[in-house]
């Protein structure tokens, strides 16, 4: 209901705003991100033209899903028809899509909001809004049970898989709907599964018949619509796959629907659409896996069950053969369902505590006062009022924050608000920034801070009258009063040394030891850099990037290059005093690309030649970072170092490392040392880097052990990334490396950042995970932060929360933009609070939960034996579910595993986490790989962890 209300008139500031990613369209090597993925898609994707016409991302971003809203607009009154329309849209994809697309980017996103989505949305969202009645709850509970004859349904370990096996036999126990009747047949259609908390609603009742109506085409005919999801939306999968393309051992992360979908004829799927529509809302609630016959990705790990058996949990009383894979909740199905149900409607953030669509779903966000889920996702959008409740439920309260997340082109990036010399308006006591939740009182002369309740004066220049609802008249003219995310221009008080920063710099630091030369890396890299330096990130509509570049090569000494534009030839300066690193030159080291192009090109031409005959195999590492950092310090700017490194730094220098790889330590108490850095020197160095705003991105090309655990300390603490290409060979790894490099160099990045998360009274941010450094308990310091980096924040209660006022988060990020502008980015999010555990369980987000738990566990391995970590995870999961069963579910037989609707994938995903390389390495996984993955996951966002832990499997041939 409030959604309707909050559909605001168009704010005047909704006008065209520079969109960052715009310059991607300069067709540098095609679209940077999507170069790799399209090929596999293309293979089977022929019939769907929309996806392949990718090149301009702006266009590709307008998939049929976005096409749906207008369609449904037209059909608004009749939801069914809307759906049908969708199907047709699918068929006539080409023409209609172009029309729509022009409309979208062209017209203001805010302007186009008006009616259609709003009208249709409530139907979707309503069920979430009203607190469920007790009747609903019970119905729900019933729906959520997984009945099983197996006794140990809830043992702390190995749960989850046991029970579902017995589904077939237990089918009789489903009391309340015919729906369940379809289960035993093992081919329950995907759309018709159980009903979650909507169970009580009328549409659901009608679902079963419909479901049964398309159970028959097991061939996958009904899959068609779901197939359009992943294919057309593209985004959902494209994103994650690109951002983590270099996992060592993970298969290509594209998510594909199971094989059946592939094989299915791409023809129109006519009949089901109409029938589907009513069931549409039920999708959310399917309590367990679709009873789909062929489900290849379950088949292999499951029935074989060797890994399962090897888990140290209590013995499974049932022989594995009794597990029924079909009974397990299917992530694929859940993803598809969410996509179908929620992908078509924009997600409007006006209401408090709304659970956003899954990360795998491609949806648009309309910012109406809360930060987009692209910026912040929470484990639960309804948090317990008291810490007792929270303890009881054991559901971690965490937010995964991606402050500089990239937005699809249809969504405007946050508005920049300039408050002039006075700077942003803040609460005097808690220093929270002005946000939509602040209450103006006394006719607008004062405002009450929503975080600490302090009453503050409104400065005269900011004064505005209030309307009859107590809202400021200019609320919609001011982003900070009406939006969840916005930026302030920072004043000089927010700058280091009270001086506005200079534009940042990129320094490329290239290992030129024997290995790097021999593998062809140096030649490849220098060749690439020549063109890549034209594509440095720039701000808004800037003609050219403000970022300056510098070059260093090194083996066991460092070579700096003077590439001043006035020189005919670059000059090399060798610094061999690695014990006491310094920067030998000031003028001419960091240069503007366009001014010094000739010299830079000449340099990059000569580097491979100069070292072609090198025999130097020893390298240094810490001095290289030190040098880069000193260079930035000398130039008085922040910046980023791109290190291309090949081997364990054994040369005599600070940060020298030993080969300490010892596989015998695995599964011992000392295993944790493999993840810990060898020396504290790198922490110290990282601290200095952070102080200077020096972010380090590390590209590793090892042929053997390089001690990633130690080398990654600095990137990790400075907000950088680590890439690893084991046994790099130009022929094989060129594509992967170059696309990573291009993406890494081009991505928009903020420097010298400090992030602080403020919360309303009652909860407090207590723990942080990610690639950053913290010198105190509240400020997250990031030397660099790009659009892919995520900070996960855990909250704990320190007081009672109030159901009415809810809980508020404000994440403020102070950073220097890539043009050297100092800014504050503010994200606000309001959450609901509950006194009923059921509300908590109904508003959880499993993907986010897994993201948090994985990060928690991966940090745990630094200090505890891996087995302990695994056990902790399992215990926590069991407790979450046990609490649910005890407090929320209706009584059922002891053998049943009851999963809350929102968490039905929790056991599956958790198992994936448990089996990941870090927590349970296979024989061929190296120590470096584990350390690499460990740090990689630390700054992953939800979409990435989702696909990382549950990789999609795509058959490329007809079986």
């Amino acid at each position: 209901m409030n959604v309707n209300q909050s559909a605001p008139p168009l704010p005047p500031f909704g006008q065209s705003q520079p969109v960052y990613p715009g310059y991607h369209q300069s067709s540098y090597g095609g679209q940077p991100g999507s170069t790799a993925p399209p090929t596999p898609y293309g293979a089977y994707n022929g019939p769907v033209p929309g996806y392949q016409q990718t090149p301009p991302p702006g266009v590709s971003r307008a998939p049929p899903s976005s096409e749906a809203p207008p369609a449904s607009t037209a059909q608004a009154p009749c939801g069914q028809a809307a759906y049908g329309q969708f199907g047709q849209g699918d068929v006539q994809n080409g023409p209609s899509s172009t029309v729509q697309m022009q409309r979208f980017p062209g017209s203001q996103p805010f302007g186009s909001v008006p009616l259609a989505p709003v009208v249709s949305q409530p139907t979707v969202l309503q069920p979430y809004g009203p607190p469920p009645t007790s009747a609903q709850v019970t119905a729900q509970l019933a729906g959520m049970q997984i009945s099983g004859a197996v006794a140990p349904a809830l043992p702390p370990v190995g749960l989850g898989y046991g029970p579902p096996t017995s589904l077939a036999s237990a089918s009789g126990s489903f009391p309340n709907s015919g729906l369940y009747g379809s289960y035993p047949q093992g081919q329950a259609p995907p759309l018709s599964q159980a009903q979650g908390h909507l169970g009580a609603q009328p549409p659901q009742r009608s679902a079963p018949p419909q479901a049964s109506s398309f159970t028959s085409p097991a061939s996958g005919g009904p899959r068609m619509p779901s197939m359009t999801g992943p294919l057309l939306s593209g985004q959902g999968f494209g994103g994650p796959s690109l951002s983590q393309p270099n996992h060592v051992s993970s298969p290509p992360p594209q998510a594909l629907p199971p094989g059946t979908q592939m094989t299915g004829p791409p023809g129109p799927p006519p009949p089901m659409h109409s029938s589907q529509q009513p069931g549409y809302q039920l999708q959310q609630n399917g309590s367990f896996g679709p009873a789909r016959g062929p489900q290849p990705n379950y088949g292999s790990p499951y029935p074989g069950a060797p890994t399962f058996g090897s888990q140290p949990g209590p013995p499974q009383p049932l022989p594995p053969k009794r597990l029924d894979p079909d009974a397990i909740p299917s992530p694929i199905q859940v993803i598809e369902d969410d996509r179908n149900n929620r992908g078509s409607e924009p997600f409007v953030t006006g209401a408090r505590g709304q659970v956003p669509p899954l990360v795998t779903t491609n949806f648009l966000v309309k910012d109406q006062g809360n930060a987009s889920p692209r910026y912040i996702r929470c484990t639960s959008y309804n948090i317990p009022c008291t810490s007792d409740m929270a303890k009881q439920a054991q559901v971690p309260l965490a937010a995964v924050i991606k402050p500089l997340a990239r937005l699809p082109p249809e969504e405007a990036s946050p508005y920049v608000v300039d408050h002039g010399e006075s700077g942003p308006l803040r609460c005097n006591r808690c220093k929270a920034y002005m946000c939509p939740f602040m209450q103006f009182v006394e006719g607008g002369r004062r405002f009450q801070c929503c975080f600490c309740s302090c009453i503050n004066d409104v400065p005269p220049q900011y004064f505005q009258h209030l309307d009859h609802t107590g809202k400021r008249v200019d609320a919609y003219d001011r982003p900070e009063l009406s939006l969840g995310s916005y930026e302030f221009l920072a004043t000089v008080d927010y700058c280091k040394n009270n001086k506005f920063p200079s534009p940042p710099a990129f320094i490329f630091m290239i290992d030129v030891s024997y290995n790097a030369i021999r593998s062809g890396l140096v030649r490849l890299l220098c060749e690439e850099l020549k063109s890549l330096i034209d594509f440095l990130p720039r701000e808004g509509g800037a003609e050219e990037s403000a970022i300056r570049v510098g070059f260093v090569t090194y083996n066991k000494v460092l070579h700096f290059y003077n590439v001043k534009s006035s020189l005919a030839q670059p000059q090399m300066m060798v610094v061999s005093d690695v014990a006491d690193m310094f920067v030998p030159l000031l003028d001419g080291f960091l240069v503007n690309v366009s001014e010094s192009r000739a010299v830079i090109t000449s340099l990059l031409d000569q580097i491979p030649e100069m070292f072609a005959d090198t025999r130097e195999t020893e390298t240094v590492f810490a001095p290289v970072i030190q040098a880069g950092m000193e260079a930035l310090k000398a130039a008085e700017c922040a910046g980023k170092l791109f290190l291309f490194h090949t081997s364990l730094p054994i040369a005599e220098a600070p940060g020298k490392l030993k080969n300490r790889d010892d596989r015998k330590l695995i599964n011992t108490d000392k295993e944790k040392t493999l993840f810990q850095p060898q020396t504290g020197a790198y922490q110290t160095l990282a601290k200095e880097c952070v102080a200077q705003g020096c972010c380090v991105d590390l590209f590793l090309f090892p042929n053997q052990y390089v001690d990633v655990a130690t080398l990654s300390v600095v990137p990790q603490l400075t907000g950088g990334s680590v890439y690893k290409y084991a046994c790099f060979q130009v022929e094989n790894d060129q594509e992967r490396f170059l696309s990573d490099l291009r993406r890494d160099v081009q991505k928009v990045v903020g420097f010298d950042a400090v992030m602080r998360v403020r919360t309303s009274t009652g909860i407090r941010a207590v723990d942080f995970f990610g690639a950053f450094y913290m010198s105190n308990t509240t400020d997250v310091e990031l030397a660099g932060l790009d659009g892919d980096k995520t900070v996960t924040v855990e909250f704990k209660h320190d007081d009672r929360l109030n159901e009415e006022s809810g809980a508020l988060l404000q994440c403020a990020l102070l950073y220097t933009s890539c043009a050297g502008q100092r800014r504050l980015r503010i994200h606000n999010l309001a959450l609901n609070c509950c006194t009923q555990l059921a509300d908590l369980y109904r508003n959880c987000e499993t993907d986010t939960l897994i993201n948090y738990m994985a990060k928690f566990a991966y940090r745990g391995v630094l200090n505890s034996p891996v087995k302990t970590v695994r056990d902790t995870l399992i215990t926590q999961c069991a407790q979450i579910l046990a609490c649910y069963r005890k407090n929320c579910a209706s009584p059922s037989s002891a053998g049943q595993l009851i999963l809350p609707e929102c968490m039905k994938l929790l056991p599956v995903y958790l198992n994936c986490v448990l089996k990941s390389d870090v927590l349970q390495p296979g024989a061929e996984v190296t120590t470096d790989d584990r350390a690499y993955v460990r740090q990689l996951v630390t700054s992953m966002d939800v979409a990435e962890t989702n696909v990382f832990f549950y990789p999609r499997l795509l058959p490329l041939t007809r079986a």
Binding site: M572, M573, V575, D577, L586, D587, M610
Partner: protein, 767 residues
């Protein structure tokens, strides 16, 4: 017999030796009563166009403690083919090559006119000369430009096979690699960190085969490449490269904020230069040439901080112990100088700046290694340019006037011992039977190392007569001294020059007149002055003056003729007559007086005083004054204020300055432009004459003197006025009536007053 003057002159021309005494008192006791020690000024490489070197090796005395070289003073038994060493009396067999000798067939070294002889040693690998430029880049733009041009010019003057290297410094120190194509490479060092030689060599990659690039060409044993080849290259190979490199040299790019001095890492740069050569070419002739335009302001060897508001130390600060960095810096440079000397390299310092540049602290680098020290106002002056050019001047044979890595050994007959040496040398600490226990100058050794020397380098060598009074030398006995100088000639040959001299002994009691007559007052003055300057380096100025005065009084007492307590009766013989006057001017000279001189200037003056030959040294002590007038040809006049007359032009040569001074009338005439009128052409000639003479001096002298052309009342006339004897001052002007000359406004004592006091003291029996 010729006069002693002729004898002395002849000896100097032949052997490059001037003794204070040419007849030696035969006992220790008497020798000490002579006041002026037995000593000599030795110019080891005095140019001898008439002395072609012999192409064989010298014959040595076979006694291991002696090893004196066969010389004309040895007794030779031609039949037995034996010779007796005149120092230890060992009888030695001639080597086989000498079988053919006889009274009529003597080898050169036995002929009396070859008391000085030079041998060329053929064995041993010859290594090229090395020139390592160490260039300050914290200069003004035009200064740097001028310096760059001078350096580029010098490349054409170097021997083509000489190795050159380039180190530049400012805030950082860069060692330039000269062998590379395309990208120019340099190794950079932090200017604040002192590095050991080992560290420097490690960092420059000199310890291992630095360029692993040398692909093993199997079977082809290529010659051992110089490991340092990257930094030191033959001039002919990298002439163009280096010219370009110098051309591209930029001023130090690090910003210098208002009120600060540029950060200049002279100490580290020098340390790296020394370390580079130490590791690669020990004991090879090498010059490190430091060009600096200001004081070292950071790192080891810093002389002053970078705050301009804190001025560089003055003598006042030093006396008040207020010079914060001086001790530490001096220690740093001394350590470097000693290392350099050990390796046989020399360090030149070319310091051009208006303010001080820290020569006081750095002086030892040049002093101990025999390097040059040049002080100028700017690199963009002819003073620097021509001086620098003159370093590469050539002698009559077309060889460079420089020699390297010399060791000077002194052997004496048993009545004598060597007490020490004063000059651009370091002790090699070789004890031997002829080393005296008393030290005068650098003593305690019979060998010294002189890393760089030229034909005018002159050492003062001091002896002690050790013969006891009760063991008289037989009548007609002679004492002998042999100077053996081994050095690397600029043609890279190793050579040995041997000078053997002998003087008669005389009993001081019976033959005092002989000894007196054989006194060389010029040599004595210089030798005493060297002792005084040497003392002044470590002692307070007044103490040194007192010591000099006492010596002078004692000498007068000993050799003057007077009646007790009657000053008017005091007379000195001719051979002593000028000595007190030398001492008078020495007392006033900048070598002993620091007033009006900066510490750097004092160091500079003393540096040159300790190495120039007798003539130049005397000019330094007592400048020469020539007078030009219409009354006659140019003539030398007294260095006295009475010589300053209105109708005279004066030319004063103080070694460091050439001053042309126009008398009052002359100046007015010139102002009136008479010289341009044809009828006054003689006036034009008169004006021109001193200029021509000055040019002549300027052409010949190293370092080039400061050339000052001034006139009566001109501000620069102070150079003249401060030197002349103030016979007329404001105190006595009217007493002298309206006589000629110009009064000097000073309270300094005049020569007359000095002499009066001297006489009074000499005749008094009190002391």
């Amino acid at each position: 017999m010729a006069t002693y003057l002729e004898f002395i002159q002849q000896n100097e021309e032949r052997d490059g030796v001037r003794f204070s005494w040419n007849v030696w008192p035969s006992s220790r006791l008497e020798a000490t009563r002579m006041v002026v020690p037995l000593a000599c000024l030795l110019t080891p490489l005095k140019e001898r166009p008439d002395l072609p070197p012999v192409q064989y090796e010298p014959v040595l005395c076979s006694r291991t403690t002696c090893k004196a070289i066969l010389n004309p003073l040895c007794q030779v038994d031609y039949r037995a083919k034996l010779w007796a060493c005149n120092f230890c009396f060992q009888r030695n067999q001639f080597p086989p090559a000498y079988t053919g000798i006889s009274e009529v067939n003597q080898p050169a070294e036995l002929m009396p006119q070859f008391s000085t002889i030079e041998y060329v040693i053929q064995r041993g690998a010859q290594s090229p000369l090395i020139f390592l430029y160490v260039v300050d880049t914290c200069l003004e733009e035009d200064d740097l430009q001028a310096l760059k041009e001078s350096l580029q010019m010098s490349l054409s003057l170097l021997p083509p096979d000489a190795l050159v290297g380039l180190i530049t410094f400012g805030r950082m120190v860069q060692v330039h690699e000269l062998s590379c194509e395309g990208i120019s490479k340099s190794y950079v060092f932090r200017g604040t960190k002192d590095l050991t030689a080992k560290q420097i060599q490690d960092m420059l990659g000199l310890t291992k085969p630095a360029m692993p690039v040398q692909q093993a060409r199997p079977g082809q044993p290529h010659e051992q490449p110089f490991v340092s080849s990257r930094f030191l290259q033959p001039v002919h190979k990298i002439d163009m490269n280096l010219t370009d490199l110098l051309g591209e040299l930029q001023r130090d790019p690090w910003p210098v904020t208002q009120g600060k001095r540029p950060l200049r890492s002279t100490g580290v740069a020098l340390s790296i230069a020394v370390g580079l050569l130490e590791g690669t070419f020990p004991n090879t002739g090498a010059r490190i040439m430091l060009f600096t335009g200001g004081p070292p302001t950071q790192g080891p060897g810093m002389v002053v901080g970078d705050e301009l508001k804190v001025p560089i130390r003055s003598w006042h600060d030093i006396e008040k112990d207020n010079a914060r960095f001086m001790k530490k810096a001096t220690k740093h440079y001394e350590m470097l100088a000693n290392r350099t000397a050990t390796n046989g390299h020399c360090i030149d310092i070319y310091a051009c700046a208006l303010d001080q540049t820290g020569l006081l602290e750095m002086k030892c680098c040049a002093n101990l290694t025999g390097g040059h020290m040049v002080m100028g106002d700017s690199f963009n002056t002819s003073l620097f340019k021509q001086t620098f050019q003159r370093i590469f001047s050539k002698d009559f044979n077309g060889d460079f006037r420089m020699a390297f890595g010399a060791t000077l050994e002194v052997k004496t007959s048993r009545e004598l011992k060597v007490a020490g040496a004063i000059g651009p040398c370091v002790s090699l600490n070789v004890k031997g039977p002829c080393v005296s226990e008393n030290e005068l100058g650098v003593g305690g050794t019979s060998q010294w190392k002189i890393c760089g020397l030229d034909p005018t380098s002159t050492l003062g060598i001091y002896f002690e007569v050790v013969n006891q009074h009760n063991a008289p030398v037989p009548q007609g006995g002679r004492g002998a001294i042999q100077f053996v100088t081994q050095y690397q000639h600029s043609s890279t040959q190793r050579r040995i020059r041997v000078t053997t001299i002998a003087r008669n002994w005389a009993d001081a009691q019976s033959q005092l007149r002989h000894i007196e007559a054989a006194f060389d007052q010029e040599a004595a003055a210089v030798l005493m002055a060297r002792l005084g300057v040497f003392r002044a380096e470590s002692e307070e100025g007044p103490d040194v003056l007192r010591w000099l005065d006492r010596q002078l009084i004692r000498l007068c007492q000993k050799f003057g003729q007077y009646n007790k307590e009657d000053p008017t009766s005091f007379r000195l013989s001719d051979s002593f007559s000028l000595y007190p006057q030398f001492m008078f001017h020495l007392r006033r000279s900048p070598f002993l007086q620091v007033f009006n001189n900066s510490p750097d200037e004092s160091s500079y003056y003393r540096h040159h005083f300790a190495r120039q030959d007798l003539t130049q040294s005397l000019i330094m002590i007592q400048p020469i004054l020539y007078s030009y007038s219409f009354h006659g040809p140019p003539e030398p006049v007294l260095l006295d204020s009475s010589s300053i007359l209105a109708e005279r032009i004066l030319l004063m040569d103080t070694f460091f300055q050439i001053v042309i001074y126009l008398g009052e009338t002359i100046a007015q005439w010139r102002k009136a432009g008479y010289q341009d009128m044809p009828e006054y052409e003689n006036f034009k000639h008169l004006l021109q004459a001193p200029l021509d003479d000055a040019q002549e001096i300027l052409q010949a002298r190293f370092p080039m003197p400061r050339y000052i052309n001034t006139e009566h009342g001109g501000s620069q006339a102070r150079f003249l006025l401060s030197k002349v004897n103030p016979s007329q001052t404001h105190n006595n002007l009217y007493a002298w009536g309206q006589e000629t000359g110009a009064p000097i406004l000073t309270d300094d004592v005049s020569l007359q007053v000095f002499m009066d006091h001297l006489k009074k003291l000499a005749v008094s029996s009190a002391c």
